[in-house]
Amino acid sequence: MSPRWLGERVPRLEDTKLLTGRALFTDDVDLPGMLHAAFLRSDEAHGVLRGVDVAAARARPGVVAVWTAADLGDYWKPGPLLVPPPPIAGIVFNAATQVPLAREKVRHVGEPLALVVAESRYLAEDALDDIVVDIEPLPAVMDLEAALAPGAAVVHDELGGNLAARARQTKGDWAAARARAHAVIARRFRYDRGAAAAIENRGVVAAWDARSEELTVWDTTQAPIPIRNGLAGMLGLGQSQVRVVAPFIGGGFGPKIMMFYPEEVLIPWAAMRLGRPVKWIEDRRENFYATTQERLQIHDAELAVAKDGTILGVRDRFLSDTGAYDPYGLTIPINSQCTLLGPYAVPNYDSEFTVVFTNRPIVTPVRGAGRQHGVFVMERLLDLAARELGMDRVEIRRRNFLPPDAFPHDHQILFQDFRPLVYDSGRYAEAMDQAVAAIDYERFVRVEQPKLRAAGRRVGLGIVSYIEGTGIGPYEGARVTIEPSGTVRVATGVGTQGQGHFTTFAQLVSDVLGMDPSKVQVITGDTREFGWGTGTFASRGAVVAGNAVHEAAIRVRKKVLALAGAVLDAKEDALVLECGSVHVKGAPERAIRLGDLAVKANPLRGGVTPGTEPGLEATAYFGPDRGNAANGVHALIVEVDAETCEVRILRYVVVHDCGTVINPTVVEGQVQGGVAMGIGNAFYEQLVWGENGQLMNASFMDYLLPTALDVPAVEMRHTVTPSPLNPLGAKGVGEAGAIPAAAAFAQAVEDALQGGIEVLEMPLSPNRLFELMQDGAA
């Protein structure tokens, strides 16, 4: 069973449907008699909801139903708390979860106030214009510090303040470390909000079949199984009566995990009430308010270093914006807190975060999920320390890397999976060496940069390291079945949003069962096919579901060998699985095709003995003990036009280590795409809010996704340090590209401007760079 497909660049099996326009996305579901929904959303960020007059909307021809919060009766309930607070001593956590339709108060722009169902989306939107809303505006809570000050307006009156959470994690003795430091670098860092902006907006289609008493929901979710379980509970149905399908999804990036958006709660309910299928497809403007977002944090951080650049300790106090509600708990700030430590030995650490409710849309993870912030703060501190110590920036990093024999390395704090933050494996200096070589660091610094500077060109280099905690639990499962046709079906609970699961999972099975991946049919994200699991997030698909798929295939292989041994009258260790059939070693004529074996595995009368299990089928689950630590280095070269403040990326190198690579093409695609998002976060994308909580750029005209002209081709290198925490040795990769880009970009821009400015905030923009350069010149 030597791996033939593991590590191969197998072209993706799912492509043909997508390339020919035949893949089913949620908005492609068109059912007879289907109605269309639209939501009226608040124009105000914060206010007392005095009334929603829907009489005229109800009277409009073509409108079937209009509901406000008052019409929902007992069905109106705040959503579930998806991630409870972890067991950190002294933690404070105030839960406030989103509601299906606002009542009494509105808490962010775009919060839904009413649901209209009509014969077409056009008519439903006509009816939205008929609704008269009376909101008495309240001051919007926007500034994280002001929000906590006495007398501030309060987002959730029952909490008496805007504190959502506070938690402190420490190791060692920061005060002592600071006291003996040669230098202490202290700065304030700000990392602002962006949108995930998947090109496909969200959508939900629900159909209730009154005869079979079954509810089918197509949902652009990254987590169909929890949605099924939750909906069944809310609607008083058995879990088997609800089928949730996450069909092809046009990009996820985190917000599509967020469970029990108001629309997910209400559209199935409306379909059951009306006895007709109902479709809601989010439009782009809605997406900017109604879909969750991420990123605003403000860090006051200090780094204590010895004269030789050795890190003595880090202290960080940071504010983290959770928006109007906090259903996702503390995943983001804990990720920030943990990821800050990076690949470095940090003997003393004192980090406390304060999570704040504001009148902005809800914050839940977006690709990176708080890790960016940690990397940005640490890498910027190291850059500043290197400058202060007169050290090379690569050298200060090398000096502090955890060595290869330091594993498992226990950071003595808790990670987002509630497990200790213990790194499993890594070769950090080697990754740095590769990056230094790939970008030709020495030559750039000594030859290229001085030469170009002499010619008036402002070029700069950035090079940073990062760790990504990936592949967390709890668990995923998979069922592998050999069909009489000879096709192997793999069903798993995770949904897929473009990560190539149809192919990578097929590769895992192919090696075990000795067949071509094209003969393996993978089904994801349909609760009727597989009903246990959580979802696709935290770069865990390949690690957690992948290992489950692999284990299920191994169990099927055992069944194959046992049955084939009986059929072919041979010992199991004399059998060879290859090309979809089993034969006896050295006797290729003594063979049986897997499909034929599958027929025999469904025994007829007389063929059953006690203990016989029919079918060449097995189900397996995998739950890792804890998350693993992928790592890497990003290096880039930029050129700044000091007059126009435009920044151009000339080169971009990534060295990354995600353990065992199942399909390098897919992995490289994830990294390249992640870098694009990271560049967006660094220089193009920023959600801009007015002081009254208005979003000033709720369109693709003003919220700027990078285009083909803005994203360079990433030059990629791999190091492979398998994880000891799972049989495949895999680590996650989905978010890696996005995480360190901003830190690298900031260093490069500073370098290009030769220390004229300090970049302590992200994102940057030409306008902001102009301001910083003005300040620097003044």
Partner: protein, 290 residues
């Protein structure tokens, strides 16, 4: 994001279009390429009661010679101008500018006249027409008039078009000998609304001095903004780098840029000076080599 209902009319001729526009008055909105209007309709910020679709009016499209210059029908697609070697020869400033307008998919549909009549302060074509001293042909039932581009743009999204009047063509005059041109802009991403843009045409006299300089900017005022101070600073001067730099600084007096989330007024002023200098430098180089 679905548009509100409207009545749709598709005239087959200019006369029919004019009649419909007159009949429906303020309720009617001509639909040219629709690349600005339809997004506004999808956002329901534009809710015209009647759309008069000009896309069926064949005689509004076309590129032809006129008085040594160029005449472009209002419904000529921007892409058609971009592909026209004749237009590039007669109006190289226009040819250089077209690729900066949005993206090919938009220019395939967007029209020259539609952009001019829309008069977006961030649009490229109005500034080009002002720099090029183009004349716009306006027709109404029973009459036609020509308006200089400089007078056509009267304010923020405002033009000299009167109710019932239709922009039917634009005429760019022939370029004088020893004339150079350049267009430059800074936008966040290629195809976005420019933060600032500059279109210029300069002509040298027999001694290589600046005989005339027309510099028009976009995104720095209510509409396209002509920069007379720059022209005055260059008049009669040898276009040395120092002279061009000094003249470009004068643009500050001619602009009153807005602030938005992408660029403050101060940053736009900086860009206006830098781009004016860069565009003029290129234009004088070209003029000298012609």
């Amino acid at each position: 994001m679905k548009p509100a209902a409207f009545e749709y009319l598709r005239p087959g001729s200019v006369d029919e279009a004019l009649e419909l526009l007159e009949r429906h008055g303020a309720d009617a909105k001509p639909l040219a390429g629709g690349q600005s209007l339809v997004p506004a309709m999808n956002f329901r910020l534009a809710q015209p009661a009647v759309l008069v679709d000009l896309n069926g009016v064949a005689d509004l499209a076309g590129i032809a010679a006129a008085d040594g210059g160029l005449r472009i029908g209002a419904m000529t697609r921007q892409r058609a101008v971009e592909r026209s070697a004749f237009a590039a020869e007669r109006a190289p400033l226009l040819a250089e500018t077209l690729p900066f307008i949005a993206h090919p998919q938009i220019r395939n549909r967007g029209t020259v006249g539609g952009s001019l009549a829309h008069a977006d302060p961030a649009a490229e074509l109005p500034a080009v027409m002002v720099a090029a001293q183009a004349r716009l042909l306006l027709r109404r039932r029973g009459g036609e008039r020509r308006v200089e581009a400089e007078r056509f743009f009267t304010g923020l999204f405002a033009t000299a078009l009167e109710p019932g009047e239709l922009l039917t063509a634009v005429e760019l005059p022939a370029m004088a000998p020893r004339t150079g041109w350049a267009f430059a802009e800074v936008s966040r991403r290629h195809g976005d609304y420019a933060l600032v843009g500059v279109a210029c045409l300069v002509t040298l006299d027999g001694r290589g001095r600046c005989a005339s300089a027309r510099v028009a900017l976009l995104s720095v005022g209510e509409g396209p903004v002509l920069a007379p101070s720059v022209a005055a600073a260059l008049a009669g001067a040898a276009p040395t780098p120092e002279a061009v730099r000094a003249a470009a600084e004068e643009v500050d007096a001619d602009v009153d840029p807005p602030s938005d989330i992408h660029a403050s007024a101060a940053y736009r002023r900086r860009l206006a000076r830098v781009l004016t200098r860069r565009a003029l430098t290129r234009a004088f180089d070209r003029a000298a080599s012609r």
